[in-house]
Symmetry: C2
Subunit: 367 residues, 2 copies
C-alpha cells in the first residue's frame, strides 16, 4: 500500500477514528486503525465491538492495500509531523514507513485480516437532523445518565420517535432530562436505548453547525449515525426503558420565573460549602417577589436573595446544588421557569413548547 494525504486531512480523520479505539482490550488488534486503500477510496475503520467508526480520507492512492496500525502511535506521529504532504507506505512484512519532508518514521504494522469488520447495516428508515440539533440534544441530556453499572439501561439514553417528534431522555434515579425535537420527515415509531459512551463520542464528532446534517438509521440491534465522510455505528442496550412519560406531571402549586445566569451564579457560590459526596441541600425559600437561597454547613453559611416572578403558593424546598446546576448550565434560555407542588415532590424546569423538561427530586432538610 502507498498513499499520500495532507497532514490536515490525516489529522482530521485520525481524530475521528480514534474515538472508537478501546483504551483497554484483550484483543490488541482493536487498538489499531485499519487503513484500506482501494477503488480510489481511502478509509479508516476502528471498532471496540460496541462502537464502530468508518471515515473516508482525502488523498492519493499510489498502490492499493490494507494495513492495521496501532492507533495511538499513528496519531502521535501524524500530529508531530510538519504541515505538509505525508506518504504512508507498507511492505509485505507489514512494516509501515511514514515520510514527510525530510522526516521518516518506520514502525511495525499488522495484517488487516485479523481486524473485526463492522456489522453491515440495512439502510432502511432514517431521520435527518442538523448536526447542531443532535449535538445540543446530546449535551443537554447526557449529564444525567448513571455512570455505575447498577442498572445498565441508566447508562444509556432513550431515543424515541413518535408522532413526528424525536424524544431523547436520560435518568439516574435523582433526576430526568428530556429534549424533544420536531422532525421534518415521516418516520415509523422507534424506541431504543443508545449507550452513553457512543453518544459522548458522536457529540464530539458532530460539527455543531446548523448547515451540516446527520442521518440516523435504526437497524435492529444497532443505531447508525451518518455524517458527510463518516459513519458511527453503535450497538443498542437491550431492554425496555423506563416509562418516562408517567413520571412527568404538569400540575403545580408554585411557579417561579427567574434569570438563569443569576440563579446559576448564586448556586455556584453556595456550593463552595458542599463537599463531594456530602448530602447538604441548598434551600430555596420562595416568597412573593423574591427567592432566598440559603446553605448552612460546618464550614460556614451563605445566603442570597434573587428577584423572581412567582405564581401560586409560597414554598421552602431543598436541592442538591449540583443537580440544579447541571440542568441550568445546559439550558440556553435567559429566563427559566420552575414548577413545584411541595417540598417532597419533584421540581420541573421546562419551557412553554416543552422542547426541554428537567425533573429534579428535592432533598429533605430540617429548619
Amino acid at each position: 500500500m502507498k498513499i499520500i494525504c495532507s497532514k490536515a486531512d490525516l489529522v482530521k480523520s485520525v481524530t475521528i477514528a480514534i474515538r472508537a479505539v478501546p483504551v483497554h482490550t484483550t484483543m490488541p488488534i482493536l487498538q489499531c486503525i485499519l487503513i484500506e486503500a482501494k477503488n480510489g477510496d481511502i478509509r479508516f475503520t476502528t471498532n471496540d465491538m460496541d462502537l464502530g467508526i468508518e471515515t473516508h480520507v482525502k488523498g492519493i492512492i499510489e498502490e492499493e492495500g490494507v494495513i492495521a496500525i496501532e492507533a495511538k502511535m499513528f496519531s502521535d506521529i501524524i500530529r508531530k509531523l510538519p504541515d505538509s504532504d505525508i506518504t504512508i507506505s507498507t511492505d509485505e512484512r507489514f512494516t509501515v514507513t511514514i515520510t514527510c519532508q525530510k522526516a521518516k518514521f518506520v514502525i511495525g504494522g499488522q495484517s488487516g485480516d485479523e481486524f473485526t469488520a463492522l456489522p453491515s447495516i440495512e439502510r432502511e428508515e432514517s431521520i435527518t437532523l442538523s448536526q447542531y440539533t443532535l449535538k445540543s440534544v446530546i449535551v443537554q441530556t447526557i449529564f444525567s445518565i448513571a455512570t455505575g453499572e447498577a442498572n445498565k439501561m441508566m447508562t444509556g439514553e432513550l431515543f424515541e420517535i413518535r408522532d413526528g417528534y424525536l424524544k431523547v431522555a436520560s435518568l439516574d434515579g435523582h433526576r430526568i432530562s428530556i429534549r424533544r425535537v420536531e422532525l421534518k420527515e415521516e418516520c415509523g415509531e422507534y424506541r431504543v436505548i443508545v449507550p452513553g459512551k457512543a453518544l459522548n463520542e458522536i457529540s464530539k464528532i458532530l460539527s455543531g453547525e446548523m448547515d451540516d446534517t446527520v442521518r440516523i438509521f435504526f437497524a435492529g440491534s444497532h443505531i447508525m449515525f451518518e455524517l458527510e465522510d463518516t459513519i458511527v455505528l453503535s450497538r443498542l442496550i437491550d431492554g425496555e426503558y423506563f416509562g418516562v412519560d408517567q413520571m412527568i406531571s404538569t400540575d403545580y402549586e408554585t411557579k417561579v420565573s427567574v434569570n438563569k445566569r443569576e440563579l446559576l451564579s448564586c448556586i455556584d457560590r453556595a456550593s463552595l460549602f458542599v463537599k463531594e459526596g456530602d448530602k447538604k441541600p441548598i434551600i430555596f425559600d420562595i416568597g412573593d417577589d423574591s427567592m432566598k437561597l440559603n446553605i448552612d454547613s460546618p464550614i460556614g453559611s451563605m445566603n442570597e436573595e434573587l428577584v423572581v416572578s412567582k405564581e401560586g403558593k409560597n414554598l421552602m424546598i431543598g436541592f442538591n446544588p449540583r443537580y440544579m446546576m447541571d440542568a441550568l448550565k445546559v439550558i440556553e434560555d435567559e429566563m427559566i421557569t420552575l414548577y413545584m407542588v411541595s417540598s417532597k415532590a419533584p421540581c420541573f424546569i421546562r419551557d412553554e413548547e416543552e422542547q426541554y423538561t428537567y425533573l429534579i427530586l428535592p432533598v429533605n432538610f430540617t429548619h
Copy 2:
C-alpha cells in the same frame, strides 16, 4: 475590622498572597491569609516559614483590625462573588462576614495573634531589574534544578553578583543552565542559593513587563524581592554552591549553527519513541552541511536530516532528547549554536555575548 474593596483588587491580592500558603502543614494558622487593616493600609500576609509574601490591597478601611482567614476558602468565595464592591467585616468572636450585592457569606476566622510574622529585613544593598528580565532569567534556568532531596543545593539556584553582572545558574548532574545579566548599578559581591520553590512562585507573581521593576535585597539568610505593592521573602539554602565556572569550557572541535525551531520539532518527533525513564538517546550525526538525527527503539525508528552550518570535525553524539528540548524551548534566538569536543564531552549551547550557556552531557550509544 471592616473593609471595602473591589472584587478585582481582592482577587489580584489574594492570587499573589496564596502562593506562600503551604498545602500541608502541622501549623493550621499558616493556611490562613492574615488581613491587617490599620493606618490607612490594608495588608495581606502569608508565610510557610521558608517563603513569605506581604501585599498591599486597595480599599477603604471603615474599622481597623486584624483577622486570619483560611486562604483557600477565602480565595474561593472572593472569586465566585459578582464583579462589585465586597465588604469584609469581623466581630469579637472572629466570625467573618463577606457581603457583595445581595450575597452574604459567614465563615469562622482566627485571631491574628497566632500568625508567625515575617522576619524583618535590613534594606541594605540591592539590585534593580525589569520584571521582564527577572522572569525570563528564572524561566530560562529553573527547569534544570533537581527535584529530589538527594542534594539540597541542587533544588535551588545560584544567584551571584560579581563584576557588574547577575549570574543565575542551576544544575542537576546531567546539565547546567546559566543566564547572565549586566547590572545598571554598583553593588557588592554576593553568592547565594535561592530555593527553586521560591523562584517558581516569584516568577508567577512577576508581571513580565519591561517597564515594571523589581528590587532584590540580599540580607543574611534571606533574599527579598520588592515589587510595587508586594514583597516576597525567601530563606536561602545553606552551603557553598558548585564551582559552575570550572565546569564551563570554551574549547570546541565541532561548531554547528541550526534553526532552533526546526531542531526542536525534529527532536520532539523523535521523542515519541522514548518512554519516560528510558535511557534511549537521540543520535546527532553531524556532517558537512547537514545533521542527521536518528532514534531506534523496539517500537520503531525515526530519522530526519536538518540543514546546518558547521565548522570543524564531523561528529556523532547522543543526547537525552528531553534535556535538549528543555533548553531549546526557553531560548528565544531563532538560530542557535552548539559547541562540542567529542561524543564523550559536554555539549554547550551559547550565544556570542554569553547571555545564556546551556551545558548538556551526552549519552553513550552503540552503533
